[in-house]
């Protein structure tokens, strides 16, 4: 330290002194996160399934379908139970999401897509209730609020492993005669599949078939 009397030590906060202390108002304006597993951060307010149906029809149905079945390639919100081990898994709020407060958080922070973070807390609660109801996770009379949402048991909540078990492949770097050449055969090729947009010239506008 060149001037120990002037500067705080590096271990103490504010050593450089740049920026300004975040005021309670500033923090309140941006502190939007809601923790998925216990709902910490959920604000006051509430919403019914009935109200959620109205907001959904106005704000969500165009992309997610009238009953959450999805439109085009926009995500399905409903269904898919029993598909996760199959050939075509359908991960939806009902089949996949482990925590209900995460749904509130995501609608609040990112939806509706053209005007994110513009809905009232009550409307977000109502939408959360409606989508959970569409998935048969809560009854018609369910009222979503900061107390009720963390208690909702999601169907797939026990299926997540939150620690990374990798490395899970233990190949050895063999150098010579590592495989039987007769067994080395092509089982899959991209040739002729007509799925590859072109990679020369201007951008390809090929749409889905």
């Amino acid at each position: 330290m060149l001037a120990a009397g002037t500067f705080a030590s590096a271990a103490e906060p504010g050593h450089f002194g740049y920026g300004s202390k975040a005021s309670p108002e500033q923090i309140a304006g941006w502190d939007i996160d809601v923790r998925g597993d216990d709902g910490v951060g959920l604000p006051p307010g509430s919403g019914t399934v009935k109200r959620g149906e109205e907001v959904y029809a106005e704000q969500c149905a165009a992309c997610h379908g009238t009953f959450g079945e999805g439109e085009g390639r926009f995500p399905k919100l409903v269904g898919g139970q029993g598909t996760l081990k199959g050939e075509r898994p359908e991960p939806t709020v009902g089949s996949y999401w482990p925590f209900a407060p995460t749904l509130w958080d995501y609608i609040n922070r990112a939806m509706p897509m053209p005007a994110p973070h513009t809905l009232s807390a009550d409307d977000v609660y109502a939408l959360t209730a409606y989508v959970l109801n569409l998935n048969d996770i809560v009854p018609n009379e369910f009222v979503a609020d900061r107390t009720s949402l963390p208690t909702v048991k999601m169907p797939n909540s026990e299926s997540f492993i939150w620690t990374d078990p990798r490395p899970d492949t233990m190949a050895r770097p063999c150098m010579n005669a590592c495989a039987d050449p007769a067994e080395t055969r092509i089982v899959s090729t991209a040739e002729g599949k007509q799925l590859t947009p072109r990679t020369t010239g201007p951008l390809d506008t090929m749409q889905s078939k």
Binding site: A10, P13, H15, F16, Y18, G19, S20, Q26, I27, W30, D31, I32, D33, R35, G36, C63, G72, L84, K85, P91, Y96, W97, T102, D105, R109, A110, M113, P116, S159, F160, I161, W162, T163, D164, P165, R166, P167, A171, P173, C174, M175, C178, A179, T184, I186, V187, S188, T189, A190, E191, K193, L195, T196, P197, T199, G201, P202, D204, M206, Q207
Partner: protein
């Protein structure tokens, strides 16, 4: 206007038909026909080359002056070297991805305009004077920083790759897309300049209960992820510059997070907020997305690490061979674990391997270039590369990965890529038994 004036004088002297001008004019005509041929090939005969023995028109005229292109741009003939998307992959372009044209790039640095992009709510255009970074939660002194504040902190520059964990995700079930760009183009590498996240966290004072950080973007998705505090303090950077210039808007201008060696989406762009807590947040991105669905129906969450991976960039479907002879097989290798230690190359589908040459610099959590000379005899071949990192981890085959993870995983396909070479030199994306 003066350089243009000089240019027009030069051109008009060509048209004037002086002996020198006429020769020039003929050359120019050949060049024009040649450039037309790039767009739509005329049916008539091949134009005479402007190269030896004829002198080319650009050798007999004066060129454009400085600041003719004040920022600069690639040569006109390189106009096809661009990021590309797969239109059928997503609902719209606002929550989608573009792929880097690896087949046309050289070395380990991705030019800023070609760095792959992934947005979850489109690309915001942010006024840096209005932008703020707020750091709060379990800290002693919650802080709001302007861009001017952030640039004042001690700066660090480091070279790191960023890879989307869905890179290669279209290939879990089968070889589908015949392209290096579309199968591997969600990786890019740059020199990042900014401030260590640990410096900022020291500045606010981390409380001892803090174990996790929530990082959040200012885009319409308010994109957020949870990170362990250990990783934040280890090597994360809050950056404002990429390859020597300010970040591009596509890359998070004016401020983004770089989390070396971890999956792309945690490298939050348009960074506006860092909140410390005692637990992870389980956001939508880390529960319904960016989790790996296993064949038994369980899912792995918080699988941030990018395992060792490599790919041969020449030859590849976009860059076939032009006949038997000596070639240099070229490729890129990387690992989130640190440095690439070795890359082996096979030309017979993994029966026999040779160790390739690694090119300097070999940097931690950066792309590493490798090459191997190859005498191609014109017969069919199956080219593969296999990376080994400094932890001893060996890049697996797709069959080995499937044994562990099935085919529903979507993310973290770091398997060995096989390119099939046909006798005519064409190259196809294939998978082996």
């Amino acid at each position: 206007m003066r350089p243009n004036l000089w240019r027009s004088i030069s051109l008009s002297s060509n048209v004037a038909g002086t002996p020198l001008g006429r020769r020039s004019f003929l050359g120019l005509g050949a060049a024009l026909t040649g450039s037309l041929a790039i767009g739509a090939k005329p049916a008539n005969a091949e134009p005479a080359p402007a190269s030896p023995p004829a002198d080319a028109p650009w050798s007999q005229s004066i060129g454009a002056g400085v600041v003719d292109r004040p920022y600069g741009r690639p040569a006109d003939s390189e106009a096809g070297v661009i990021r590309r998307n797969v239109p059928w992959l997503t609902a719209g372009a606002e929550s989608s991805v573009s792929f880097s044209p690896l087949q046309d790039l050289h070395g380990i640095i991705t030019p800023n305009g070609l760095f792959f992009e992934r947005h979850h709510a489109g690309r915001p255009d942010i006024d840096p004077d209005q932008h703020r970074l707020m750091i709060h939660g379990l800290v002693e002194r919650p802080l709001v920083l302007t861009m001017k504040d952030i640039v004042r902190f001690p700066s660090t520059s480091r070279i790191h790759f960023i890879e989307c964990p869905a890179n290669g995700g279209m290939e879990w079930r089968a070889a589908q897309v015949n392209s290096l760009q579309f199968n591997h183009g969600m990786i890019s590498c740059a020199e990042w300049t900014g401030v260590k996240l640990s410096t900022l966290l020291d500045e606010v004072g981390v409380r001892k209960e803090a174990k996790w950080a929530m990082v959040e973007g200012a885009d319409g998705a308010h994109m957020n992820r949870s990170l362990t505090l250990d990783k934040c303090l280890d090597d994360c950077l809050v950056v404002y510059a990429q390859n020597g210039e300010a970040l591009r808007p596509e890359q998070g201008y004016p401020l983004r997070l770089v989390v070396p060696g971890w999956e792309g989406n945690v490298n939050i762009k348009w960074l506006r907020r860092i909140k410390l807590g005692d637990k992870p947040w389980f956001s939508r991105e880390e529960t319904s997305k960016y989790t790996d669905l296993m064949p038994d129906g369980t899912s792995r969450g918080f699988t941030w690490l990018i395992d060792a991976k490599s790919v041969i960039t020449f030859p590849c479907p976009e860059k076939p061979l032009s006949g038997p002879g000596l070639y240099e097989i070229r490729g890129l290798a990387w690992t989130g674990n640190g440095k690439v230690k070795r890359v082996d190359v096979s030309t017979d589908g993994g029966v026999n391997w040779q160790t390739a040459r690694l090119h300097e610099p070999v940097l931690s959590k950066a792309l590493t270039k490798f090459t191997l000379p190859w005498q191609w005899d014109g017969r069919p071949a199956l080219l593969e590369s296999r990376a080994i990192d400094e932890t001893g981890y060996v890049q697996p085959t797709i069959a080995q990965l499937r044994t562990q993870r099935g085919t529903n995983s979507v993310y973290h396909n770091n398997s060995i890529q096989t390119w099939q070479i046909k006798p005519d030199g064409s190259v196809f994306d294939v998978q082996l038994a």
